[in-house]
């Protein structure tokens, strides 16, 4: 019996940039793909690059032929498509963010459970050796009682987006890159923290800079995210007896300070590209469909992060930006309207 088909749904920048390299290294998997996009020319182009089986404009056209699906669409479609597929018994690997709210994640979890259909989520940072080791050290008590975590991640947005969807949802950097970081904070804490403070730079649209503080027991976790400028791109984890400091793009090592001494902890030798971690998820999807492995990251795993992000948006307040508001000095009072 031949291996079942898998739908690759969404042929935008995520598919082209993150998944294409990994799929090219897995020609057996690529040949089983049905490439789906409402823009059939994009689907055809990606099919040609992959040597994929077929194309379609709508995933619903190919449901009888598939046992699994990669959901790589714009963010707002992740939830409805994943839920629909899970309810039809099709195993899904969905890009982050999985959903807008914990209630939506619960619907997916329920569909997954009642149809015995695993739902996997791409939270690559959970796979990084450094992230895993930091979590282990925290929970092992290697730095004493956890006190504070700081994470900052920012770079000018330069994603080769095929559509303006990133800026039309009203949810920006927190929902996008923040999905990784908030999930990581929850995972390290081993809990769903409360939102202590949240502010962003939305002016009625989609935020590009966000600052948040989360609290769990006596621990505060701060994150600073930006689509507009390059930040330090570092993290620090402070405990009562030590500190862990690392780079957001250093996936295999960090610095551990304990007992007054600092040392570099190299968790893994060698080097892997980001796409290699996506490749791990692709392999996991194939194994999960064949019932030979458990999912690396499930919908239930990411529920806390989704809930925290939703709670952040619920208490959104504007960042103080005096340079933005300076336009008021330009015009006499009578020209102003409420837009500012």
């Amino acid at each position: 019996m031949s291996a079942p088909c898998i739908a690759l749904i969404g042929c935008g920048a995520v598919a082209e940039t993150l998944y294409l390299p990994g799929l090219r290294k897995r020609p057996g998997l690529a040949r089983r793909l049905i490439v789906v996009d409402p823009d059939l020319s994009r689907a055809q182009a990606l099919r040609a690059k992959l040597g994929a089986l077929d194309v379609a404009a709508d995933y619903r056209e190919v449901l009888p032929r598939i046992a699994g699906a990669l959901v790589l669409t714009p963010h707002h479609l992740h939830f409805p498509i994943t839920l629909d597929l899970a309810r039809r018994g099709i195993t899904v690997l969905c890009e982050k963010p999985l959903a807008h709210s914990a209630a939506q994640v619960d619907e997916i979890i329920e569909a997954s459970r009642s149809h015995d259909t695993p739902v996997l989520v791409n939270h690559t940072r959970r796979l990084f050796p450094a992230s895993r080791e930091v979590r282990r050290l925290i929970h092992q008590g290697a730095i004493g009682e956890l006190q504070e975590i700081r994470y900052e991640l920012g770079a000018p947005f330069d994603w080769p987006a095929a559509t303006p969807a990133y800026f039309r949802d009203g949810r920006g950097v927190l929902f996008d890159t923040g999905a990784h970081i908030v999930d990581l904070l929850c995972w390290w804490l081993g809990a769903q923290p409360e939102v202590v403070d949240y502010a962003d730079d939305s002016r009625g649209g989609t935020e590009a800079v966000a600052r948040l503080t989360l609290g769990w027991r006596d621990v505060l976790a701060h994150a600073h995210l930006s689509w507009l400028s390059k930040l330090g791109n570092t993290y620090s984890v402070v405990g009562s007896r030590g500190t862990i400091e690392g780079g957001a793009y250093d996936w295999t090592s960090f610095t551990l300070t304990s007992g007054g001494r600092s040392r570099k902890v190299r968790v893994e030798r060698g080097w892997r590209a980001y796409e290699d971690y996506v490749g791990m998820l692709l392999d996991n999807l194939v194994q999960v469909i064949a019932r030979r492995a458990a999912p690396l990251v499930t919908a239930a795993d990411v529920r806390a992060g989704v809930a925290v992000i939703d709670a952040c948006y619920a208490r959104r307040k504007p960042l103080a930006e005096p340079w933005y508001d300076a336009w008021r000095l330009l015009f006499p009072e009578e020209r102003r309207v409420a837009n500012g």
């Binding site: 947005f157 990133y166 649209g205 080097w271 336009w327 020209r335 837009n339 500012g340």
Partner: protein, 360 residues
């Protein structure tokens, strides 16, 4: 105001994005934010304005973007591509004429005057200093005037050195340099005129030009309210950033480093142009390579070029009397007001090293 729909080209750029922010926030009209790539939409996506694809080299895209538009502010530009500046401007303005827009404001630059000296008014002849940008913008103005002669109500603005939040050249770059000691610009080498204009004043001038019933093709210098020396600007920015006092290296050392660094700068540019993928691959894989490249990049960035020394010493003042008279232009952002705003943005955006500030 409500009957206006304003297309801003280059809406993802430094000036274009601020134009969109202010036009929207102040309710000057409905704004269509034209971008060449969706990736440049992050800053303007913060407001509920319409993002439209508008590569000014593409006549079909431009015509589509101009649908329903009554006014245009043309900010799109390229630092490296002459065709975008010249042919793109012509394409946009041809389409604007066909669409019968009521007014186009075309952002040019005082670089069209070349390396001018003394008091420069709008009738000063254009000159070349051998740099692509000024020459291409001069050609772009010629295209605008040709369209004006055919009836397009276009107003040309020639801003001086635009600074402010998100400004890479005169704000970010100098803020970074001020933190990289030794400071390699001796006071004696920076006595030329610093014709800075805050980005919001450029926006104010554009709004005034949208309103003013000036003759098609009329051009206006747009400058700030002061004419400090470059040295005064550097010290004022240093103070606004609360950095330790500036102590300049001796002139002989500065000029020597600048001269020595010039071939390094050219070689780095050439290597990056020809071997960028390979260089980035090494950069990503090797921590040592990353450290070396970052240090080299910082050294090149923080060393003034010989050309820079030439303009830091040049005495020139671009007059705004014509803009004041015909547009009612009033620059409202002197350094005392503008630099704290820029500094606040620089700090919030991670451009200021907090430990350096604390050592003050």
């Amino acid at each position: 105001m409500a009957d206006r729909t304003i297309l801003v080209t280059g809406a993802g750029g430094f000036i274009g994005a601020r134009m969109v922010e202010v036009l929207h926030a102040a309710g000057i009209g409905q704004v269509k934010a034209g971008v060449r790539r969706w990736a440049s939409g992050a800053r303007i996506g913060r407001m509920p304005v319409e993002l439209v694809p508008c590569d000014i080299r593409d006549p079909d895209q431009v015509s589509q973007a101009l649908r329903g538009v009554t006014h245009v502010v043309h900010c799109a530009v390229s630092a490296t591509d002459r065709e975008t500046i010249v042919d793109g401007t012509r394409t946009l303005l041809e389409a604007a004429l066909a669409a019968r827009v009521r007014r186009v404001v075309h952002l040019s630059t005082v670089a069209v005057y070349g390396d001018a000296h003394g008091e420069v008014t709008e009738d000063h002849p254009f000159a070349s200093n051998g740099r692509m940008y000024g020459e291409a913008k001069a050609a772009g103005e010629e295209a605008a005037r040709a369209l004006a002669a055919r009836g397009l109500p276009v107003t040309i603005l020639r801003p001086t050195l635009v600074h402010g939040p998100f400004g890479a050249t005169f704000t970010v770059s100098y803020a970074q340099r001020l933190q990289a000691r030794p400071w390699l610009v001796p006071a004696s080498a920076a006595q030329g005129t610093c014709n800075l204009v805050y980005v919001d004043d450029v926006v104010g001038a554009a709004v005034a030009a949208l309103d003013a019933d000036t003759r098609p093709g009329e051009a206006f210098n747009i400058n700030g309210p002061e004419r400090p020396t470059w040295n005064e600007y550097f010290h004022a920015l240093n103070d606004a950033l609360e950095l330790p006092p500036l102590v300049a290296a001796p002139p002989s050392q500065s000029h020597l480093v600048s001269t020595v660094m010039e071939p390094v700068r050219s070689a780095a540019r050439m290597l990056l142009h020809r071997f960028k993928p390979q260089i980035m691959a090494v950069y990503t894989r090797s921590e040592l390579a990353r450290r070396v490249m970052k240090a080299a990049e910082a050294r090149v960035r923080n060393t003034p070029s010989p050309y820079e020394f030439s303009y830091l010493g040049r005495s020139v003042s671009y007059s705004t009397r014509k803009a004041e008279r015909l547009l009612g232009y009033r620059p409202r952002f002197p350094m005392a007001l503008a630099l704290p705003l820029a500094a606040a943005w620089l700090r919030a955006s991670g451009f200021v090293n907090p430990s350096f500030q604390q050592s003050r």
